[in-house]
């Protein structure tokens, strides 16, 4: 069995500073109730490696909310010349987002050069969740509250520091470069990590029980079965069509190509788009297959729980709970799923 490493908490700062030589390092910082990714400034004072996922989704480091994708007719890849990102403290629910984003931009059909470049160059330092918040329900989607794949390095926070697992050759190189900061993890430290994982697992289980969230084993056919149901209109009643549920979601990938209004300097932007917005599917001639809000809410669920499982064998939800917090209309995906599952 490969050795596990240990990073003393006093070595976190030198480790991150070491990485910062080659990467633009982003760390989760706590502000009020939420955590946000902030550019690492050389201090680890406010950095929270553990706890739960930050407010904003990881996808923003792989396709920006607004980015330039073409300049004039040049066959070049316009790209910020900055260093690649190192994103620290990435939680398992965000990593599951790659199952969807990779399928769309990297693994199927035309290859997206922007996404692929970021995917190849960015460094992902994952972290175990050390607690759960009320909206967490990752286990219902088959995601454990600690990273198991798709990271370069993973940190499991324990009392004295972090148990470190290397997940890729890119991660290996980074650890090697900073080798003096690491030591071999002790039996006791490994035990502490396992105990903590079990404890958080239990916390999420209790969450799911308390909020009565159905498990993905029950999702088969829920969209087809409920296509004509009243549930959609009922749930969409309060929706204000803000699109927050889409932008905040680690799996939502839809975008719009948008040309700068300047005929001299042609520039094409890619901006995140939202299927909840009325114009999303409207054709130039004016016809709209989804004129009503409830049809668009249904479409959002159809894409997540019918389309993606059929085309890529994955539910396009990670159980991160972000859309529950973000929705000004208090539309709760857990409740919608429960209603769909129960409406046999």
């Amino acid at each position: 069995m490969e050795k596990s490493l240990f990073l003393n908490k006093h070595n976190l700062q030198p480790f991150l500073s070491g990485i910062a030589a080659d990467y633009a390092v982003y760390v989760p910082v706590r502000k009020g109730k939420h955590r946000f990714f902030k550019k690492y400034t050389g201090t680890t004072d406010e950095v929270v490696i553990g706890e739960v996922r930050p407010f904003e989704p990881l996808k923003a480091f792989f396709s920006r909310a607004k980015e330039i994708v073409a300049k004039g007719f040049e066959d070049t890849i316009p790209h910020a010349t900055d260093k690649p990102f190192a994103i620290v403290g990435v939680k398992a629910c965000d990593l599951k987002g790659f199952k969807v984003q990779d399928f769309v931009f990297k693994d199927q059909g035309f290859k997206d050069p922007f996404y692929i470049k970021n995917r190849e160059e960015n460094l992902i330092i994952g972290a175990d969740c050390t607690c759960a918040i009320d909206t967490c329900y990752c286990l219902a989607l088959g995601v454990k509250p600690y990273p198991q794949e798709d990271f370069d390095i993973n940190l499991s926070q324990i009392e004295e520091g972090f148990v470190v697992k290397v997940g890729s050759s890119k991660g290996e190189a980074v650890v090697k470069k900073n080798a003096s900061l690491f030591e071999e993890a002790s039996e006791g430290q490994l035990m502490e990590k396992e105990n903590q994982r079990a404890r958080v697992h239990l916390e999420v289980e209790e969450n799911i029980k308390k909020n009565n969230v159905p498990s993905q084993e029950l999702f088969g056919g829920i969209i087809e079965r409920n296509y004509k149901s009243e549930i959609w209109a009922d749930e969409a009643k309060t929706c204000v069509e803000c699109g927050a549920c889409n932008t905040i979601c680690p799996t939502c990938h839809c975008f719009l190509l948008f040309d700068q209004r300047d005929e001299k300097q042609m520039a094409r932007f890619r901006i995140w788009d939202s299927c909840m917005i009325k114009e999303f599917a409207r054709v130039a001639g004016g016809a709209n297959p989804r004129p009503k809000l409830w049809m668009r809410l249904r479409n959002r669920f159809e894409k997540k729980f019918d389309f993606f499982p059929k085309v890529s064998n994955v539910y396009a939800c990670t159980g991160c709970g972000r859309c529950i917090t973000a929705c000004p209309a208090k539309i709760d995906i857990r409740k919608v799923l429960r209603r769909l599952v129960n409406n046999a």
């Binding site: 007719f73 066959d75 059909g109 190509l257 042609m266 016809a287």
Partner: protein, 273 residues
Amino acid sequence: MPSANIYRPIKTQVLDIFPETPNIKTLRLKPVEPIPFKTGQFIELTVPGVGEGPFTPSSRPSVADVIEVTIMKVGKVTAKIHELKPGDIVGLRGPFGQGYPLDEFKGREIVVIGGGCGFAPIRSLMYSFFDMSGQFKKIFFRGGCKTSKDFLYRNELEEWTKRSDLNVELTVDKGDSDWNHKVGVVPTILDSVDMDYAQGFAVVCGPPIMMKFTTKKLLEMGFKENNIFLSMEKNMSCGIGKCGHCRIGTYYGCKDGPVFRYDKIKNFPEIWD
């Protein structure tokens, strides 16, 4: 050479512009790199500084260096396209999507049915048939529009009626003095298509409502569901199955279409909306 950057358009010169009807024009375009396309595939046309829109070429696929698109003025981008002059520079991306399976059509009887602006892609298909003349058992063409003024390529269509390798009938919803063909909706001119329906192919392109009733009629006549080809118009942005705009059930109109066999999509809700 496919571009590494799937979002950048290829520089293209507008060679010529022909008005077809008061709100439809055909543009002849010359991209600096040839864009070989299969009939039925589409391209994205950029007006610099304005935006991009998807169009199915209406020209001969065997000619790759010059592409013709026939465009109705319906929105912001198409309004700008209508203001273009010969010599202007635009951009093209593509070709995208799936074309018609011409090889499968060989040796068979085919009816091609067009309505309204749906004639544009169908003209390209008919050119392919003419280029491969003799390789098909029989080709029928049925076209319909609201009035005689709405017909695209009217002169060409009149020429087609004289071809010995083609059986043509045209109809308008409302006749006038300028019209010497049939009067009635498209399904009414299908009965005269004399072929073995169960073995034949049908290609339909037109407004959703026309496709809906035509498909119904074709099924009643005995065409097989997987032998009916429909052109689905969807909101498109990227053209390459990434942006999510054009989803139809488990497919994307841009990537898996825009031409679909009816049996592939018939169980999806919303297909005619």
